[in-house]
Symmetry: C2
Subunit: 77 residues, 2 copies
């Protein structure tokens, strides 16, 4: 079953943020994070929704984005 549950009352962007947060904190996703387009394809969510999820993680300080380069995890201390 897909990690994103469209039947859940939990908003998709928050579900995705939770999934990515887990992948980052587990260390599975260190360094470069898949591009927005890539995540859009991988999770079958609109790019806007992916952006919203990344926005949460950015606010949390888990990732940083750089136009033209990509998205990167921030070293956790």
């Amino acid at each position: 079953m897909p990690v994103i549950d469209r039947a859940s009352p939990e908003p998709l962007y928050r579900q995705l943020a939770a999934v990515l947060r887990a992948r980052i904190e587990s260390g599975e996703l260190a360094g470069p994070v898949p591009s927005i387009r890539r995540l859009h394809e991988e999770y079958d969510l609109a790019e806007v929704t992916v952006r919203q999820a990344l926005g949460i993680l950015k606010t949390e300080g888990l990732i940083v984005t750089s136009p033209g380069r990509g998205t990167f995890t921030r070293p956790r201390r």
Copy 2:
């Protein structure tokens, strides 16, 4: 001249956030804040853009939103 300058390199949503922040901090906008639709009409910006501006002010703790009720300023300390 309109407060929002489309020729400026400053993003529209940040311009609007700045304008609203000023209106709030000056005390002109205490209590209820005009609805998203109202701001959309007043500043001739897409509703999405207005939401983005309000999102900033929400993160800053200047306003709170309540579905079905509206947007309200938060007492500043």
